[in-house]
């Protein structure tokens, strides 16, 4: 059962001579619960693809279906609600809200949705993220690894259908990187969430079920990883 379907996605920046094709007719599908890695050199279009998959950026052409729903057929408001409920985004630089504590950052999407955070789930998640004793700290009072864990917590808390991580360990040391990857892997297994991770790190890619390679805006290789 295909959960994510990407059909002929293209993305161009600029016009005329300065036009850049960030993505060029990219198509693939991802079944529910799969953890996929997207690798490729810098400027290959990985982040652009990820942002399009998350409904953060719109493609120049092509369609993205998530659980059968045409993502870009929605207006901006519904697209925001879609991101809030269906997508969990993790950035390399965390992008946490500096005025909110760890726990407030994690629960923000749910609060934005006008719902009350599930306290039981929150404490489970905090435990999983090993943040129970740092939950009331502000981002500036947390280490890089802890901030990234908060960012993962924020992505997981709404129990989204898909988690998109843009080089989640790019800003972390090897110990913290290993912890984060384990966390994502465990989360994928425990919550059966579909996950796409952009990475430069082969060791991370090798832990994923599938590895998609992009170069010059095109998929050049798409292999299942049996070692994962």
């Amino acid at each position: 059962m295909e959960f994510l379907t990407v059909e002929h996605i293209s993305k161009q920046y600029g016009k005329g001579e300065t036009q850049v094709n960030a993505l060029d007719d990219v198509s693939f599908t991802i079944p529910k619960g799969q953890m996929a890695a997207i690798i490729g050199p810098s400027g290959s279009g990985k982040s652009t693809l990820l942002h399009i998959l998350g409904g953060v950026d719109r493609p120049t052409s092509g369609k993205v279906y998530l659980d059968g729903q045409d993502v870009f057929a929605q207006n901006n408001k519904n697209l925001a609600i879609f991101r809030r409920r269906q997508v969990g985004l993790i950035y390399q630089f965390y992008n946490l809200i500096p005025v909110l504590s760890a726990v407030e950052n994690i629960t923000l999407p749910v609060i934005m949705d006008g719902r009350k955070p599930d306290r039981e789930y929150l404490s489970r998640l905090l435990e999983l993220l090993n943040l129970s004793d740092r939950k009331d700290h502000l981002p500036s009072q947390l280490s890089g690894g802890q901030q990234q864990r908060v960012s993962i917590g924020r992505a997981l808390f709404t129990s989204p259908s898909i988690i998109l991580a843009d080089e989640p360990t790019g800003n972390l040391d090897s110990k913290n990187s290993a912890e984060i990857v384990n966390l994502l892997r465990n989360s994928n297994r425990e919550f059966k969430q579909t996950m796409i991770i952009i990475t430069h790190d082969d060791s991370i890619a090798l832990q994923c079920d599938r590895i998609i390679t992009i170069a010059d805006g095109k998929i050049t290789n798409d292999t299942m990883n049996t070692q994962a």
Binding site: S47, G54, V56, D57, F93, P98, M112, S140
Partner: protein, 770 residues
């Protein structure tokens, strides 16, 4: 320095909008500063002109010879002497000096010595002189003047420095906005080898270039703004109060720009710009290149978890509350300046309204014999100051159709003899009053009888007589009325009845003859008794008698109507305020009969003019504060949004809708205005309450001599009356009304950068930091 200047120029051109904002901020700051200095110079110049108009010289010496003048001219301190012929053959020599004379009396002595001037009054030809202290002071020609001016300057500079610090914020924020967007570029520059000093130089050079446009522009704008303010203040008519003719107003009341003062304003502005630029540069280099390149928006170290906004608006309110306090110092300063502006706008106006009502009210409500209750107090000047002439004058005035509410009294001074009929008696003022004044006197205390009954009563009423006096003297008071005349040599005494050869004429000195005549006035009742056994103040015992008694007494005791010590007064009101100038004309044409003693209507008009001028000046000051507050608020809000560009984008990535984002910034704006309006409202109530208490304190101490009540009681009544006209609700309503444009300005300041940001994709917004 070449590369720094080049980069600074490129940045200015590349960031046109920011450069324009910074130039505008610099221009506004410098303009306000220069305007203040120009208005201060103008105020000084007008004050000097007024002093010069009073006496066109630093000293005026009367009746000196031309030889003496020439001797004085030899003194190095004297610039010029202008001689004019005065009345009665007197000459006036106006002496103008050109350097510090240290002490004016020493200089007078020097002049006396130099020109052998004799000022001794026993001398046959004493020389009189006058010192124009105001002009000496304004021209800084004495040590004391320099000291006074130094104090005045110090006060003015304190005000200017306070304003300068507020303005510094405006410039500062403008620089911060433009540098914030380039923080990453500065980081990159540092990472490729630019030293922190070079980065500071780039920002400082930028400040220099922008000042080159902004500072002169601000200086010119300041002159223009000052001129507009000057014209607006003049339109209140305040100049006509200082000078007695329109010709003098146009000659002396001029807007003046002193280059040195203007330069001070401009230099302060320029120094502030450079400080701001340098400060911004120093802030930029505090970050390491990596921090600058990858920096998060404002690192937050501490937050307050409880907030009213959170209670009212939920999580968005909570977020807005925390966002607004990221730059706590700026938040507080913006709230303060906005509060002061709102408070000034609303409460000051209300306090002035109240002051006007109290001033006008007190005129009508103070003691019954007060001199400013009616529009005009007139002295009767007819050759025949008989009782009928007062009535005649009133009749004529009534016929003119201009006046109403006539009051008339004749006052005679005298004493009451002791029991043994000798010695200094108790002083007494006998008021023969008409029905109008009778009614006014008994405005606050019960009328003992109607005026008609009073006329038939045949006895006097007293005020403030001691109890013991009443017990002893009721029904048996004998007054000795003193009459005095000028005995002009060679002229007939006015009437046979008042012949100074009269045996009762007791004092003859300096041409004034005082004649004492006795009259008996039985006292019917005392209106307000005083609880003292002895009564020593002769002026305060008052006997009231109907005016009809005067004629009878004149015939009975031989009183004349021309007593030098007597007093005839008519009081009246204008029927219509618009007829004020007609009334003055009427008095002018009848000046042989009537002399205007007090023109209360004119005084009140003048008071209103002064209040209007103060209001206008306050309004200009208020506009300045409001402008600073609003520009600051706009800057702080737009900087805040620009600083949080990636943060807002990431919130949208996490699912925040545009509506939620707009709600967030709306609440952020609302917070500024709401907090300021609440604080301003509290202070406004305290200010109005304080004014009430202050008025009571000021006037609560003295006694109203008629009612025996503290005058404060009367003022309390007026004040309470004023409170019903000028209620607490007025400043509150004004504050909240004024808060609306501030809120709109804040919203515009938020929406514009938000809309601009939304033209970029969320990715670009996030990447702007990453």
């Amino acid at each position: 320095m070449k590369f720094e200047r080049l980069l600074a120029r490129r940045y200015i051109i590349a960031q046109k909008r920011h450069s324009l904002l910074t130039v505008c901020s610099i221009a506004i700051a410098v303009a306000l500063m220069s305007m203040m200095f120009c208005l201060y110079t103008t105020y000084h110049e007008v004050k000097r002109n007024q002093a010069y108009d009073d006496i066109p010289g630093h000293f005026v010496i009367y009746n000196i010879t031309e030889e003496q003048e020439n001797l004085l001219r030899e003194m190095p301190e004297i610039e010029k002497i202008t001689r004019t012929d005065g009345e009665n053959g007197w000459t006036k020599s106006y002496v103008t000096v050109n350097r510090n004379i240290e002490e004016e009396m020493d200089f007078i002595n020097k002049m006396k010595q130099k020109a052998s001037l004799v000022t001794d009054t026993d001398s046959e030809t004493p020389v009189q002189y006058n010192i124009n202290y105001n002009l000496l002071e304004l021209d800084l020609l004495t040590d004391m003047a320099r000291y006074k001016l130094a104090v005045e300057f110090a006060l003015f500079f304190v005000l200017a420095i306070v304003l300068a610090f507020l303005l510094r914020l405006v410039i500062d924020t403008a620089f911060e906005i433009s540098s914030k967007e380039r923080e990453r570029q500065f980081g990159v520059l540092q990472s490729i080898g630019a030293t922190p000093k070079q980065i500071v130089r780039i920002v400082t050079a930028e400040g220099l270039y922008l000042s080159a446009v902004g500072v002169p522009l601000g200086g010119l704008l300041g002159i223009l703004l000052g001129f507009i303010t000057f014209r607006i203040v003049l339109s209140t008519g305040v100049a006509e109060l200082l000078f007695d003719s329109p010709e003098k107003v146009s000659r002396y009341v001029r807007y003046s720009v002193k280059p040195s003062m203007l330069l001070i304003g401009v230099v302060i502005g320029f120094v502030w710009v450079m400080f701001s630029a340098y400060g911004t540069g120093m802030r930029v280099i505090k970050k390491t290149p990596v921090e600058a390149i990858t920096s998060r928006a404002n690192t937050v170290k501490k937050i307050r978890r409880f907030s009213i906004s959170g209670l009212l608006f939920g999580w968005i309110g909570k977020l807005a509350h925390r966002n607004a306090r990221r730059q706590k110092k700026r938040f507080v300063i913006t709230i303060l300046s906005l509060t002061v502006s709102l408070l000034f706008f609303a409460a000051f106006g209300t306090v002035m309204d109240k002051a006007e009502v109290v001033i006008r009210g007190s005129r009508y409500e103070l003691d019954a014999f007060g001199y400013i209750q009616t529009d005009f107090n007139l002295t009767l000047m007819t050759d025949e100051q008989k009782l009928e002439s007062g009535e005649k004058a009133i009749k004529e005035m009534e016929d003119s159709g201009l006046f109403s509410d006539f009051e008339y009294y004749k006052l005679r001074f005298g004493s009451i003899k002791d029991d043994n009929g000798t010695g200094q008696g108790l002083g007494v003022n006998v008021f023969y009053i008409n029905s109008g004044l009778y009614d006014r006197i008994f405005r606050y205390i019960d009328k003992p009888m109607s005026y008609k009954e009073f006329q038939e009563y045949g006895k006097a009423l007293t005020f403030n007589a001691p109890k013991s006096f009443l017990q002893e003297k009721q029904d048996t008071v004998k007054c000795t009325i003193s009459e005095a005349y000028y005995n002009y040599e060679g002229e007939n005494i006015i009437s046979e009845n008042d012949n100074p050869e009269n045996e009762n004429a007791t004092v003859k000195s300096n041409g004034v003859i005082i004649i004492k005549k006795e009259a008996e006035y039985p006292i019917g009742m005392n209106i307000v008794s005083v609880n003292t056994s002895s009564y020593t103040n002769p002026a305060d015992l008052i006997l009231l008698l109907p005016i009809s008694q005067y004629e009878a007494d004149g015939e009975k005791y031989g009183f004349s109507d021309l007593g030098y010590m007597d007093f005839n007064e008519i009081r009246c009101n204008l029927k219509k305020g618009a007829d004020y100038h007609k009334a003055l004309e009427y008095f002018n044409t009848n000046m042989n009969n009537l002399s205007v003693m007090i023109d209360s209507y004119g005084l009140m008009q003048n008071a209103s003019t002064v209040i209007a001028a103060v209001r206008t000046l306050a309004m200009v000051l208020n506009l300045m504060i409001a402008l600073i507050a609003v520009v600051n608020m706009i800057n702080i809000i737009s900087t805040g949004i620009l600083n949080r560009k990636s943060e807002l984008a990431s919130m949208q990535c996490t699912g925040m809708t545009r509506g939620q984002m707009y709600r967030l910034v709306t609440i952020e704006c609302l917070q500024f205005v709401l907090y300021s309006a609440i604080i301003a409202s509290i202070f406004a109530c305290l200010l109005v309450y304080g004014t009430d208490r202050f008025i009571e304190f000021l006037f609560g101490q003295e006694e109203n001599f008629l009612t025996g009540d503290p005058a404060g009681n009367v003022f309390r009544q007026i004040n309470e009356g004023a409170s019903s006209i000028v209620s607490y609700g007025i400043p509150l309503a004004k504050i909240w009304l004024a808060a609306i444009p501030a809120f709109l300005a804040a919203m515009i300041a938020s929406i514009l950068p938000l809309r601009r940001m939304q033209k970029e994709s969320l990715i670009d917004q996030i990447r702007s930091v990453e």
